[in-house]
């Protein structure tokens, strides 16, 4: 009855989630080229299930992308939840920098997805644009909040700052992959100081 159909649906959702988790883990570890079979095997089901839930490889990649950006967003939003607008903006920057430069496989995957969205996988472009717009708007709103509560000076263009910070932030992501670990604090510190000068 209701129970039966709920149970079934729940188990299906569980399978879907296991597949998604497995895909993220595998993609993060071995790159987006990882085979369907490997992902399915990791999740303990067969390729058929994958195909059933995501339709195609591309469908899976898109679902992974959505899931990954959500995961990241939850992380950084938690770190910019309180304080003045200025504090929340800087908190978000610090959190982003820390996570992206963590060199964790998950973040390598996220970066690769961003890149592919702009290159080899146009199907991801829609997602990418939405994500980046939301991120920019969130930053801009933080700047505005800071200007409203007086923690950020009023004569800067809030949107311009949002855009710039967002860009520079993602910028560091790329280079950090190629820099020795001890340099990284240095880099972000430089950037943060410039920014504080700008906002004060």
């Amino acid at each position: 009855m209701a129970t039966a159909s709920t149970t079934r649906a729940a188990s299906a959702q569980a399978t879907r989630r296991r597949l998604l988790d497995a895909a993220i883990r595998r993609f993060a570890a071995d790159g987006l080229g990882t085979s369907f079979d490997a992902v399915a095997a990791d999740a303990g089901v067969t390729k058929g299930a994958l195909y059933h839930h995501f339709g195609s490889k591309d469908g899976l990649v898109q679902a992974v992308y959505r899931e990954a950006v959500n995961r990241h967003a939850q992380q950084v939003l938690a770190d910019s939840a309180q304080g003045s607008g200025r504090e929340r903006l800087l908190g978000l920057i610090d959190a982003s920098a820390r996570l992206y430069t963590s060199r964790e496989p998950f973040y390598r995957l996220l970066i690769a997805l961003h890149i592919d969205a702009a290159g080899a996988r146009p199907q991801l472009l829609g997602i990418a644009e939405r994500v980046h717009r939301q991120q920019r708007e969130h930053m801009t709103s933080l700047v505005r909040a800071g200007q409203a509560d007086g923690s950020i000076r009023a004569d800067v263009d809030a949107e311009a700052v949002g855009v710039t910070v967002n860009a520079a932030l993602e910028g560091f992501v790329l280079v950090h992959q190629l820099e020795p670990a001890e340099r990284q604090g240095h880099l972000v510190a430089q950037f943060r100081r410039l920014l504080e000068d700008l906002l004060a």
Copy 2:
């Protein structure tokens, strides 16, 4: 004599170059996944020649990476050849930004190679590290030159500036792929202004 013994070697080099050019073109257009055969066909030879010159797909990718960074380096070096240290530094920044944000396939390829070097293709790491070190050192030397000729103020840490600029620059590369074209001038302009404030 010299001609005779040179001829074969020269023709071999010509073939190698044609293969490299074809690979860059194909990789830029269709991604690094492009097949051996396609590249060889574009160059007008067979897979055998490709295998002869580069040994493996990976060998080809490495050669392409080396060639691509060299090509890029020549481009930007030409744009920072004259003027004061400050002018040369800013010239180099402008040239880099212009090229990377050109959205030309060649630069999408170069970016993808940088990413892969930090992720799925560890064989490229050696090349990547060397390239980035040279770039940083070149920037630092420009800052020092500027300090020597008085065009850059003396109380900044030349190396820190080199590192930061280099990082931010490559940073913009990533985001620009995902931003509408009209935003891009804006972004770089913001960054350039910050930098000029810093150096003046």
Copy 3:
């Protein structure tokens, strides 16, 4: 029901059998180097099916080896099914000699597999050892049966005889490939006479 549940599995088994038969035929005709595609084409399916059932070329070769030895065993066992222990032993010898020296492609394949098991294909060693042990034990048991029913004299070591006969038998296999056909009867006859003297 039973039919339904059997259908899929049965058709898969049928495919597997067709592939195995085709592989034996091809391998016998063209050597173990025969391509995957050729085997699959002979069986009327694609490489996908082959890969699905046997995993790899090596898996196929192993399956072929197992199947071939089973096929041979059934042949010779039928020829040593009745009579005194002595008659059954000699019957088995005659059958083996006749089959191996038949120069039929199937037996050339079987010999090649035996050889490869001892050389270039160590993966087959396990199968080979099991097969040879079973064969030896079967022979030994026939000798013992003969000693029990009085058709073989009691003062010989049953196991030693089993081993020797088995060895000599397989030995003839090799040489017969290189001898003109009219010699072959001669050779086995010599051996058989020696053996009868030994057992009487």
Copy 4:
């Protein structure tokens, strides 16, 4: 002049010999499938030289076969050089058994070549037949010598014995590859005893 051309020819012969040695070593180690390049590299020359000397892969295999049988013949002939005809015959048997069952790579190669001659490489058949005929005739001649000097009884058919012994001998070769080492002495001992009974 003469010296010059002799030197040249000598160095060519040296190259040929190095290639042959390398081929035997490689073939023995890795099977007949070993590539031209590997052999050439082992000999310190390029494929061109190999092709120059042997014309084709097949030519190389044939040359290897000839060289290998010669090498083996020299070994066993040395061990049957003195004594009565009977002693020389048994010496030859012992030497053959010892060498073939040595499991040395060289003998695995020799066996594989014999097999291929009867199967996948008909080009070797001519060589194989010649070799086996010579071997048989040599054995037969030893039997006749034994009959002449009284060490072998006169009422056996010399040729039949030669053929049988030769066959059984090569027979053991095959099985020995698949038997545990401690069995092997047993097997040959059984055979040798039967033979001595026959000849006495």
